[in-house]
Symmetry: C2
Subunit: 218 residues, 2 copies
Amino acid sequence: MTYTTTEENYIKAIYHLEHEHESVGTNLLSAAMQTKPASVTDMLKKLEAKKLLHYEKYRGFRLSDQGNKLALTIIRKHRLWEYFLVEKLGFNWDEVHVLAEQLEHVSSEDLIRRLDEFLEHPAFDPHGDPIPDVKGKFRKINQDNLLGLPLKKNLKVSAVKNQESEMLNLLTQYEIKIGTQLKILRRFAYDGSVEIRIEKNAATILSKQVAQHIYCNL
Amino acid sequence: MTYTTTEENYIKAIYHLEHEHESVGTNLLSAAMQTKPASVTDMLKKLEAKKLLHYEKYRGFRLSDQGNKLALTIIRKHRLWEYFLVEKLGFNWDEVHVLAEQLEHVSSEDLIRRLDEFLEHPAFDPHGDPIPDVKGKFRKINQDNLLGLPLKKNLKVSAVKNQESEMLNLLTQYEIKIGTQLKILRRFAYDGSVEIRIEKNAATILSKQVAQHIYCNL
DNA sequence: GTAACAATTTAGACAAATCTAAATTAATAA
DNA sequence: TTATTAATTTAGATTTGTCTAAATTGTTAC
């Protein structure tokens, strides 16, 4: 079975939404896909016909096993390409997401197998997200964001869960990247901002919006 | 200006046909694109509107300067990816054409610039075809096929101008690749076949169909 | 329990790239 | 030069993914 780029993008979006929200509906999906709810309904029917999801009209939908598997292979391709772009071609980590969105739809199992080998089977992409293996398995890591982690502990940044250039640029400004050592000094209830010390530098305050996307290992 | 994958494929096909035939028409192009002549006419109008070619109905068409430039950037991308697939990922030269057809449509000047750098500016792809530089310039080489080259001279294979897997497989069988040394012993007028000696091996006879696609430097 | 509202779906239309069948133009051959 | 043939184009339809506007279903507040 082969799938169009659009179909693949829907499947990927549904996968991510299912992991970020406990309930996913037509409206939420249409926002994520930047289309209208009516268009989503049309596509849901098509994806159900292809057995990529379970769907009952007006009641909801969720990925089938097959859909889940497809999502993982797309995510695997995306993250391998991101790793390639940063490690081999020297891109900055904030430039690669858009490119990987194109490359992830190139269809060839053989290509991905060889790319994975060439890159020596990386386990994490440049943003710290785990790369699924051929079977869709990936390392589960215990991580939380700066809003939930304990104070005064030595932490190491393990992931950044927002791929927008503006966000990643800001992090470069703060000198925060994957692997950066930091300590949470305190939280301000008023606006949810977080004071941290990065390595041995002076303390800085991160807004809640920024802090919630920075993850460290427990 | 951005172009759809289909538009790019038309432009690339027209470029190649213009270099292989002195006259290119709707029928020839439709055969190359595996579509019907009527579809070609529709696309010609669209490409003219985008100023990629000059077109007068019933009279003919040819690439404009802009179209020519676009063709060269697509060919550049295609050949760089082929080089990458063979040299870095270890593909055989007969497997890469189809993959490169997908990769060539990934749009990012930056990506190609970096890929070119990573590969250390290769001048020829794995089939011996020259890779255009950023400005669309490429090394002109004096080469001819085994039907036109002189007898009894030491020759070196510089290109194979047929990317079908069956053809390239056959060459592997004969142990012919880019750089192979050979000598033409004689030609048989009856069927156009050519007797050659490859390196120090026993003599073999190649059919006309095969011989015409093997090119050597003069 | 039902009225109001929100979420979702249907109906009908459109652009891109294609098709078939019919019409038109150009080339050629007598 | 004109008739025939070949090449090309037009007309009208189809598929994919999208849209708007209207209808339907489900949920929630009273």
